[in-house]
């Protein structure tokens, strides 16, 4: 097995003081650093005393190398990543991670870009972030980079990796390209990778808040966050949109938008009749919102389209058709209890590798990575 990344001692030449020292060299004070840790702690819903642990972990860790692979993608998740604010994308790239390969932002091109990637893979222990689905039909010819198929590239890059983060619904579950009739045989990362821990951060695109929090969780606790049956961290996908929606009171009161621009629409009533998929969708959208908390789709008057759910392009369409029934109101339910039954019906293609086994596999992988 390739060398695993050691989170406390890192490679030579990075400086002994870890991230905190690196930040201080760049003029970021310890106070600002702790503030950042507190914000991340809030995103991860850890108790106040846990913030110190985050700070301790980040201060000692070296910048873990990251290879960001784009396959059948639209770069929307990359754009979302660029909107990172806590920390900012500049801080992530310069101070927290070593993003050694990322087609959309890296300076090197062609041969030199591929060499940079190979060097990181050879070292091992890196994090692989995948954006976009992977086409498997016809020997994978629907996505080639550097003359090699996405399937081959993924295989090579994940060998010896510490973990894989599948960002966006395409990398997690196949997403858009896998919508019926799935012309290219597009699949998500977990359909192909099974000996490295894979965390799914679905969404179309992924909300960058969830990337940041996952990475920090990993650095802090040296383990993956707890995942639901769809491989999603519970801290971000543990609650149903409908149960946390700012318009929920209108649903309960029977106040619905009935046509676009009507009085109910202008007053912010419930969008259920306009096709909102919030009752079947698990995501922290209503609480963390988007673009530094500025807004979210329901806040802007349009129903949720269910983009964090596997197979949503088929299961949740037509988007403007009202859901046939709304599941129970219990705010304690997670996707494993309630949503799984609903979404699995329409997303059978993804169901095969989900359910039950995920949590067990995760703990096995953590044991394995401690070797």
């Amino acid at each position: 097995m390739a060398k695993r990344w050691n989170f406390t001692s890192g490679p030579e030449g990075v400086g002994e003081g870890g991230v905190l020292e690196a930040l201080q060299r760049k003029g970021i004070s310890r106070r600002e650093f702790l503030k950042f840790c507190a914000i991340i702690g809030a995103a991860l819903a850890v108790p106040v005393e846990g913030v110190g642990k985050i700070a301790e972990a980040l201060a000692s860790v070296k910048r873990p190398p990251v290879i960001w692979l784009e396959f059948q993608d639209c770069a929307g998740c990359t754009e979302s990543f660029l909107r990172a604010s806590r920390p900012t994308v500049a801080e992530i790239v310069l101070d927290l991670l070593s993003v050694d390969y990322h087609e959309t932002i890296m300076a090197a091109a062609g041969k030199q870009a591929e060499e940079a990637k190979e060097a990181t893979i050879k070292e091992g222990g890196h994090i692989v972030i995948v954006e976009g689905s992977i086409p498997t039909k016809e020997d994978g010819i629907y996505c080639c980079i550097g003359g090699r198929t996405a399937v081959e590239i993924l295989k090579e890059a994940t060998r010896g990796a510490a973990a894989v983060i599948a960002v966006g619904t395409c990398a997690a579950y196949g997403g858009l390209a896998s919508a019926k009739p799935n012309p290219t045989g597009a699949v998500g990362v977990r359909d192909l990778v099974n000996n490295v821990p894979v965390i799914n951060l679905p969404g179309c695109p992924v909300n960058v808040v969830n990337i940041t929090a996952t990475v920090v969780h990993y650095l802090t606790y040296k383990s993956l966050p707890e995942l639901d049956a769809w491989g999603r961290p519970l801290f971000a996908y543990g609650k149903r949109i409908h149960d946390n929606c700012e318009r929920r009171a209108h649903f309960d009161a029977g106040q619905f938008v009935e046509s676009w621009g009507d009085e109910g629409h202008r007053k912010g009533w419930c969008l259920y009749l306009m096709g909102c998929k919030g009752p079947e969708t698990y995501s922290n959208c209503p609480t963390v919102r988007w673009n530094e908390g500025t807004n979210w789709p329901v806040g802007a008057g349009h129903g949720c389209v269910g983009c964090t759910q596997p197979g949503f392009w088929d299961a949740m369409t037509p988007f403007y058709r009202r859901l046939p029934k709304v599941p129970g109101f219990s705010v304690e339910s997670t996707a494993d209890d309630v949503g799984l039954g609903l979404t699995a019906v329409a997303a059978v293609g993804v169901a095969a590798h989900a359910a039950g086994s995920v949590l067990r596999r995760k703990s096995e992988k953590i044991e394995e990575s401690k070797e």
Binding site: A90, I105, G140, I141, G146, H265
Partner: protein, 571 residues
């Protein structure tokens, strides 16, 4: 004869491969290939036309929003829908801030490193950098202390030995000409632009719920309600927030982006004579200032519609969408006759991958070699994008475009012929950003004024229910995406999508050859370019990046039939 391959061609959206033959230090021929394909148009067949925009928006997350606008316009054209003024204005505002934000990201984060040597910035004198910055702009972040801080940050980063995304690039290449101080200033602005883009695009969250991939478009209008007396609708507070963001947007464009382009360009004036390409330009035009009756009759457009042929700026030809066709002669698809082009409404497409089996070293460029089709206008290859738009607007006498183009040319001591080049494309994009940024606040005021008159309509409503639709309909939607002319063609039957085709800016620009062997814009623009070091073909990056490629957008429909399915497990 040596053949250079750049794959992946990075700092773009998507997967692009360039192969070029070099003889005597010059490129004799080049081939452009898109190497990824998803089949979005096939996926759309049989679905609800009102859903199409959600799907097509995912064609591209860099040019998010534009495929949504284009899609709803295509359906509205097919069904004869005229959207209310508020919806038209909100769409213009969303697209305008998309232009401004996207062009700035392109310049600083995708294109600048072709001209700026980060490593050289370490030799800069912060005091002299401050003098340079203050001599070109009154942007406040320009003190010697500020640049000293940036320099130290870069130095500390380099010292870690982990260069991340800046590793293994062409640093030290002889084609880098900027003095260390200009490089340091550019690095500072690279970092500032990262912060700025995140801030100004909050306008999309206000009006669109989120960015990327906005969620308030509707066939027939927009779903963001307007109501000055509601906290759930666009009200005075949200208008004020928009204007605050737009003030920041315009300020950065005028005080940082434009001065930087004008300061860097004199070091690279030779690039005003390199990378010309086709000399034919197409713009569908955009930003309707009056109500749109149909796509063929879009009303008064802020950026005009037109075609320019053979560099002749004295004549702007009208645009007829029926003159648009696509060839697949050198694309991995087949028609009954591969040598004849088709209009998008005819839209019959079959995949036919005949390329080498991966892993491969070279494509067979004499045959089919790309997932992009080859669109042609009146059977001619054309270039689209900011340069095409600025040339059409300039030739049509657009007041603000003429003012800024003339001002920039005067500053650089060049004539309009300098625009037909790699540098011209980069300058035109900047000028366009200035022109559009000027409109952000006036257009927001116009929206506020219309709401103030008591007009709260955001949606047409009459045609929302498919029972109001004809049994069959066809239409086309048009947009000028930041990267150029975008068209969606749709046929609707019994309330479902019967056929959907997109012809996208990068399909025009990155097109492979057609049946007559005529190259696309990228291919034509590379011919004749000198390459100093074939191992580090920086010159190719400069010209290709000047087009701002978006390959995910460009790749077309495919409909696999009867191919064997083989699945993989990697590990």
């Amino acid at each position: 004869m040596a053949k250079i391959v750049i794959d992946p061609l990075t700092r773009i959206e998507g997967h692009l491969r360039i192969e070029a033959e070099v003889s005597g230090g010059k490129i004799t021929e080049a081939w452009s290939s898109g190497t990824m394909f998803r089949g979005v148009e096939t996926i759309l067949k049989g679905r609800d036309p009102r859903d199409a925009w959600v799907f097509t928006q995912r064609i591209c997350g860099v040019c998010t929003t534009v495929h949504a606008i284009c899609s709803v316009r295509a359906v509205e054209d097919a069904l004869g829908i005229q959207v209310p003024p508020n919806a038209r204005m909100i769409r213009n505002i969303l697209e305008a801030i998309q232009y401004v934000q996207d062009h700035v990201i392109h310049f600083y984060h995708l294109h600048a490193l072709d001209w700026v040597d980060i490593v050289s910035a370490l030799d800069a004198d912060p005091a002299k950098t401050s003098q340079l910055a203050q001599s070109i702009s009154d942007w406040p972040k320009s003190s010697a202390t500020y640049f000293k801080g940036i320099k130290e940050r870069v130095a500390a980063f380099v010292k870690t030995g982990q260069l991340g995304p800046f590793g293994n690039a062409y640093w030290g290449h002889p084609a880098y000409k900027l003095p260390p101080e200009a490089n340091l200033m550019a690095v500072a602005h690279y970092l500032e632009a990262l912060e700025w883009q995140r801030e100004v695009i909050k306008a999309h969250a206000i009006l669109g719920g989120k960015n990327p991939h906005l969620q308030t478009y509707l066939v027939g209008g927009m779903s963001c309600p307007v109501d000055p007396n509601s906290q759930a609708g666009l009200n005075a507070d949200s208008i004020a927030f928009l204007k605050e963001l737009f003030t920041k947007a315009r300020e950065f464009v005028e005080k940082v982006y434009l001065p930087d382009v004008l300061a860097v360009a004199p070091f690279y004036l030779d690039w005003a004579g390199i990378g010309e390409g086709l000399g034919n330009f197409l713009s569908f035009g955009d930003f309707p200032l009056t109500d749109t009756r149909s796509s063929d009759n879009p009303g008064n457009l802020f950026l005009p519609r037109g075609v320019i042929l053979n560099r002749d700026l004295s004549t702007v030809h009208p645009v007829d969408q029926k003159a648009v066709t696509e060839y697949v002669t050198h694309s991995w698809y087949s028609y009954e006759d591969d040598k004849k082009p088709k209009h998008p409404w005819q839209g019959e497409t079959r995949p036919n991958y005949t390329g080498p089996k991966p892993p491969y070293q070279y494509l067979n460029t004499a045959e089919k070699y790309s997932w992009l089709k080859a669109p042609r206008y009146n059977d001619q290859p054309v270039e689209v994008g900011p340069l095409a738009r600025m040339l059409v607007a300039y030739a049509a006498g657009h007041e603000r475009v003429k003012y800024w183009v003339d001002a920039a040319l005067a500053k650089l001591g060049a004539g309009p012929e300098a625009l037909f080049s790699t540098l011209g494309r980069t300058a035109a994009r900047c000028i366009e950003t200035v022109v559009i940024a000027e409109q952000l606040i006036p257009w927001t005021d116009e929206l506020a004024a219309n709401i103030g008159k008591g007009d709260l309509r955001v949606h047409e409503q009459k045609h929302w229910d498919p029972s109001a639709w004809p049994a069959e309909a066809e239409g086309w939607g048009w947009t000028e995406a930041p990267r150029g002319a975008l068209g969606h063609w749709i046929r609707i039957k019994s309330g479902k999508i019967e056929n959907y085709q997109c012809i996208v800016p990068t399909t025009w620009n990155a097109s492979p050859r057609d049946a007559n062997g005529r190259p696309g814009a990228y291919e034509a623009s590379l011919a004749g370019t000198e390459v100093a070091d074939p191992e580090k073909p920086l010159e190719i990056l400069r010209t290709i990046h000047s087009f701002d490629p978006c390959i995910a957008c460009a790749v077309h429909l495919v409909e696999p039939r009867g191919r064997k399915f083989k699945s993989f497990r990697v590990c």
